[in-house]
């Protein structure tokens, strides 16, 4: 049970730290990395819930959900990277803010 709390708490800590980064940084690549850190926290928490007591056999359902989640996270990261590159190619900006005045459009 203590080990579950350590891993689960670690997952929650990763999730919260990632969430804070996600809403405070402006650069979109940094936001994407923060979202991935959040995903890592969720995966860690889910895997931890599979073994709440060392004597039980691990629960396969959270394992399967994490496997699915990892693949979806890879797909989202790839698509988001391409979207950000496209935004940068078209506007020269890497944030959702308006381009700065001194920059040419």
């Amino acid at each position: 049970v203590t080990l579950f709390l350590v891993y689960g708490g670690g997952g929650i800590a990763l999730f919260v730290v990632g969430l804070h980064r996600l809403i405070t940084v402006a650069h979109l690549i940094r936001k994407l990395i923060a979202a991935n850190v959040m995903a890592g926290g969720v995966f860690l928490l889910l895997v931890a819930t599979a073994v709440r007591d060392a004597e039980d056999a691990p629960d396969p359902v959270p394992h399967a959900m994490v496997l699915t989640g990892i693949v979806v996270a890879v797909g989202i990261t790839a698509l988001a990277t391409t979207l950000i590159r496209r935004l940068h190619a078209q506007t020269g900006s890497t944030t959702f803010d308006q381009p700065e005045d001194e920059q040419s459009p």
């Binding site: 709390l5 929650i12 919260v16 803010d97």
Partner: protein, 229 residues
């Protein structure tokens, strides 16, 4: 919208406080969760005999919750289609060009069969032990990437890339239609046929995952000639 340093600092502090409160609330729930014993371990173990495979996570992924995995494959397909249509150099014919290094090419030619063998091994043992289609696909994808970048296997000249990309989705679709045609629930495989069905779907997923991951990396790579600013 220009943001001043003070505004940023205040926003950061408010966000930190909100995240801290959220984290503490989640921790409180975690402690409550630790005392609960209700999992699905015994439910899965009881139904494992009729799933057709002996590895519990594989049974969950490809039999009990196979619609989940089907949608997962659809997400991968959507991602690769999105990347291919959004990348600056569109389409499969403009994947990042290989570097011609003879020594590298020879080395990759030696390693590639071993990589593929490793992928096939993971796929083959996935029904009874940790492993499976996505893991096999990820390993073969790394091999395909190496081979493409070393110039020994040009993915952009490979015929039928789109067919392979949809193989996983199509394998699931065929299985789903077959179960409906047989008068069963969607993706409710009969116990006798489920091993064959699961292996068939896994082969489709592995092949399309391998190519999907390789294309995702290559299509979002910068131009080799560096003409972008």
């Amino acid at each position: 919208m220009r943001r001043t340093a003070g505004w940023r600092l205040a926003w950061g502090a408010v966000a930190a406080l909100a995240c801290l409160i959220l984290g503490l609330a989640l921790l409180r729930e975690l402690v409550g969760l630790a005392e609960q014993r209700a999992g699905l371990t015994s439910t899965v173990a009881a139904a494992l005999g009729e799933s057709g495979v002996s590895h519990p996570p594989t049974a969950v992924l490809l039999n009990f919750r196979s619609y989940d995995t089907w949608l997962e494959v659809v997400v991968l397909l959507a991602a690769v289609l999105g990347v291919l249509s959004l990348a600056e150099r569109r389409g499969l014919s403009h994947l990042a060009a290989p570097q011609e290094v003879p020594l590298l090419r020879r080395l990759v030619d030696l390693v590639l069969p071993l990589v593929i063998l490793g992928g096939v091994f993971l796929l083959a043992q996935g029904t009874g032990a940790p492993g499976g289609a996505f893991q096999a696909g990820a390993i073969v994808a790394a091999g395909l990437l190496l081979a493409h970048l070393a110039g020994s296997l040009r993915l952009d000249r490979f015929p039928g890339v789109m067919v392979v990309l949809v193989a996983g989705v199509v394998a699931f679709l065929v299985a789903a239609l077959a179960t409906l045609a047989a008068g069963r629930f969607l993706l409710d495989f009969p116990t006798r046929a489920s091993y064959a069905v699961i292996v068939g779907i896994e082969i489709g997923i592995a092949v399309s995952t391998a190519l999907t991951l390789a294309v995702l990396v290559l299509a979002s790579a910068p131009d080799a000639d560096g003409d972008r600013q």
